[in-house]
Symmetry: none
Subunit: 228 residues, 2 copies
């Protein structure tokens, strides 16, 4: 099973069709955007697990789209482009692209490069078994245990908690959390955050009224601590 979601940003219908069929038949979920503007909005409202970006878009340069995405988007971006000059390749890679394929590309190779990119970035999550204190978060198994009982967390709750676990001790601002969990289109929806923090505390804290793990930093954000 795969389930990773891939956003295609490309103005050519035929390419999108081809990619869509190829990817779907390999168990990826696919969403499509036909322009830079559309792509940026879709990425912001529903961040995918990987982005395939064409450099030759009608409304805005692909390099510029790449830069805008990289201001907040940390997952893989693979460039697909007819441009084959070394200059374009180097520029794209240095602007944060993870890979660069020249059109026309071989679909088998594209799939392998997608698998590789997803493997590498998820590999980073695999801090084996990260936290302890009658609370165990296993980022590689995607499980959370309290007193050795597995706790059921929804997708959003887990994303939020894993962000905290990866940044133990640091204050994470509302802005940052909303951007990473919901996407940059939601940076002023602090209410979402409050509701989900409350749910998380209900599930992982001994006494949700006296939280020991998720500490409120009023006016700023939240901080995750594990006292050792």
């Amino acid at each position: 099973m795969n389930n990773s979601e891939i956003l295609i940003i490309d103005d050519e219908v035929q390419i999108r069709k081809l990619l869509n069929i190829t990817l779907q038949s390999n168990d990826f979920k696919v969403i499509e955007a036909a322009s830079a503007g559309e792509g940026l909005i879709m990425a912001a409202n529903h961040p995918p697990d990987l982005i395939l970006l064409d450099l030759g878009l009608p409304d805005e340069s692909g390099h510029s789209v790449l830069k805008k995405l990289r201001e907040w988007y940390a997952k893989p971006i693979i460039i697909l482009s007819v441009l084959s000059s070394e200059e374009d390749i180097v520029k794209a890679l240095d602007n944060g692209a993870n890979d660069y394929l020249i059109k026309p590309f071989r679909t088998g190779e594209l799939l392998a490069r997608i698998r590789s990119a997803l493997r590498v970035t998820s590999h980073e999550d695999k801090g084996p078994l990260v936290d302890c204190n009658n609370l165990q978060i296993d980022l590689s198994a995607r499980t959370v245990k309290k007193n050795n009982e597995i706790i059921k967390l929804t997708a959003t709750e887990y994303t939020l908690l894993s962000l905290f676990a990866k940044n133990e001790g640091k204050v994470l601002t509302h802005h940052y959390l909303l951007q990473q969990v919901w996407g940059p289109g939601y940076i002023d929806q602090s209410q979402y955050l409050r509701v989900f923090i409350a749910q998380l505390r209900k599930k992982i804290e001994e006494d949700p009224n006296q939280p020991k793990f998720i500490i409120t930093e009023s006016g700023v954000g939240y901080r995750f601590v594990i006292d050792k």
Copy 2:
């Protein structure tokens, strides 16, 4: 500055020479191996930050070397090969290669792909900029500790203290502090400053009546000192 160490595993002397010069002039440290056996040993004895691996080695198939490396080596491996078949590329990527360049390659592109691979795998933990004297201010985590206990500071208190920390030893005028913390509309509200300085002292000073960290410069402003 760079300092990353790269291991080249390739049997062709000319390629190794070329790579060596290119990489060294880009501030990489380079080590070379001319065969699979040699490469595996060197990698094991002194694990580099990245490996450039040729698939066409005399003593052992590159694919096999790749598999052996991946049993324990987690950092980037980039394949350099004359083999351009999709089969080889897919196989290498699925065996754990991070990237695959077909020889002859463009050096600029190789360098960019090396930078990209290193960027992705290195999760840069910012060195926490700290001040010491049983008082620790971690600007990247946004936390302040006194005697190793985290002190709760409000947003305004923290902004003020971090301003002091960033300007240790300098006298900061009322005017400047008010402008930086509250904004230019508040430059004559020195009362705010007095209240918040008092609160800060209560929280961080051993004896708030004999402040050691935040020193009053009467008529001018305040100065933050840490005696080492």
